[in-house]
């Protein structure tokens, strides 16, 4: 939106040729592009083509100004200035009820007319400026929300002997419902990749809540137990928000490469060997917030040296016809990457496609070693 003066268009509806000429002259001097009409019919037609201000005579050959006003108001937001020879209060009130914005009584001086019009445009500019200030404030708020969401992501480079961990997140708007998280644990690390329903600010609020609740269960040694308690405390909130969250939550034990994993309707975790062969891990659990009292199963896998675990959000799925096609592309990308970080970056590049409308997130955990090392 801009405040820079666009061409202002005026319409004069007046049957008296002399007065019409006077009005047209005044408005042209004020910089308006002026159209003229001598009847209600012509006036309504001209108003339909779009104007900013209309001067409207109360007495017209094919009807009165009040009828014209009633016909114009539904099709135009133009400022309507009634011009009337009858300066009684009743006329004035009727004029304003019919949708007119102001009135001026004949005889009037050109200076009075100009003063009315200028005061109108000052008012409009103030409204425009207020709207602009409000949208600038919205923009600041969005930017700040995006910063906060970024700050809730883990710092890159969790230092784990033998392991390389990276994640990347690109929201489709300023903020999104995707998030990933990881933090060190006694024997390795815990990690989460999640996607809250929808997009934008509402989804981001839900995502931040889920992150905090899952973190609060880190001390519980049994994964299934920890997850059940997180799910129980989130269930009510998700129900009230009419939302749900798909997520993968896991625990890596660095000593043996063991990963315990819970899949709550996320479904896009791939165990990838250095040669690019892959296996999709799915435990069949439903998303958080969909079925009260659901019991999620833990699946276990072991990362051999050189293996990667890649968890990717469904945003990327939009460009593939089948899950199989998606998995082949993702596994090839991860196996061919130099590092976990490189793999995440390359996965997000795959998502730089106009068909991808959703947030895109990728987390890769790679166990170093294997043939390549």
């Amino acid at each position: 939106m801009t405040v820079s003066a666009p061409e202002r268009r005026a319409l004069v509806i007046e049957d008296d040729a002399d007065i019409r000429m006077l009005l047209v002259g005044v408005l042209k001097r004020e910089g308006f592009l002026v159209e003229e009409a001598a009847t209600v019919r012509e006036g309504v037609e001209a108003a339909r083509r779009g104007v900013d201000i209309i001067t409207l005579d109360l007495n017209l050959p094919d009807g009165n100004g009040l009828d014209a006003c009633a016909q114009i108001r539904p099709i135009s937001d133009a400022y309507i200035l009634m011009i009337t020879a009858r300066g009684t209060e009743i006329d004035r009130l009727a004029g304003l009820d019919s949708g007119a914005d102001d009135y001026i009584t004949k005889p009037f001086s050109p200076r009075e007319l100009v003063a009315r019009i200028n005061s109108l445009f000052r008012r409009q500019n103030r409204q425009l400026a207020a709207t602009e200030a409000a949208s600038a404030a919205d923009e600041n708020e969005r930017r700040r929300a995006a910063q906060v969401q970024q700050s809730l992501l883990p710092r890159q480079g969790l230092q784990l002997q033998e392991y390389d961990v990276a994640g990347k997140f690109r929201p489709s708007r300023a903020v999104g419902g995707d998030f990933f998280d990881w933090y060190p644990a006694a024997d390795g690390m815990h990690f989460t990749v999640a996607d809250a329903m929808g997009k934008g600010m509402g989804a981001a609020l839900v995502a931040a809540t889920v992150r905090a609740v899952l973190r609060s269960t880190a001390e519980e040694p049994d994964l299934a137990q920890a997850f059940a308690s997180a799910a129980a405390s989130l269930e009510g909130d998700l129900e009230r928000a009419s939302s749900f969250v798909t997520l993968l939550h896991g625990r890596l034990s660095t000593a043996d490469g063991g990963v315990d994993l819970i899949d709550a309707g996320h479904g896009l975790a791939l165990h990838i060997s250095p040669d690019g062969s892959w296996r999709r891990l799915a435990s069949g659990g439903v998303p958080l917030g969909t079925v009260p009292g659901w019991e999620w199963e833990v699946v276990r896998l072991t990362l051999a040296p050189g293996d990667s675990l890649a968890i990717i959000s469904d945003g990327l799925l939009d460009i593939y016809n089948t899950l199989e096609e998606f998995a082949v592309a993702a596994a090839g990308t991860v196996a061919g990457a130099d590092s976990a970080r490189d793999a995440c970056e390359k996965l997000l590049v795959l998502g730089e496609d106009p068909r991808v409308e959703d947030d895109v997130t990728a987390v890769v955990v790679r166990r170093n070693g294997g043939e390549a090392a």
């Binding site: 929808g198 939302s243 069949g284 439903v286 998303p287």
Partner: protein, 110 residues
């Protein structure tokens, strides 16, 4: 996206046409809420002409399922297309919202 309600005697059919996403999801919720409010207990959502569903669309289906079950009834889906099928499988929601081949089959064995 458009929704049409058809009374089929023992159940109510909701025909959803178009893309079930963030924009249309609230309308599906309102449509099913209205049907349940008007006394329908058995709802079948016909997804034959729903070419796309995102997470908000799935959320609306889940919300509708809850509404129907809370009213002592049930909501089932029929005639799902490929993309919708994939979303249901990926999220495992097909374990709760099992798609039926035709609208008639959905409540045939009840």
């Amino acid at each position: 996206m458009q929704f049409a309600i058809e009374d089929r005697g023992t159940y109510t059919e909701v025909v959803a046409t178009g893309r079930l996403n963030m924009v249309s999801a609230p309308t599906l919720r309102a449509t099913v809420d209205e049907a349940v409010g008007a006394g329908s207990r058995h709802i079948v959502v016909n997804l034959a002409a729903t070419e796309f569903m995102d997470s908000s669309g799935l959320g609306a289906l889940i919300g509708c399922l809850k509404v129907a079950r809370q009213a002592g009834g049930d909501l089932r889906i029929a005639c799902v297309q490929k993309q919708v099928q994939m979303v249901l499988e990926l999220t495992n929601m097909n374990r709760v919202l099992a798609p039926y081949g035709t609208v008639e089959e959905a409540f045939a064995r009840d």
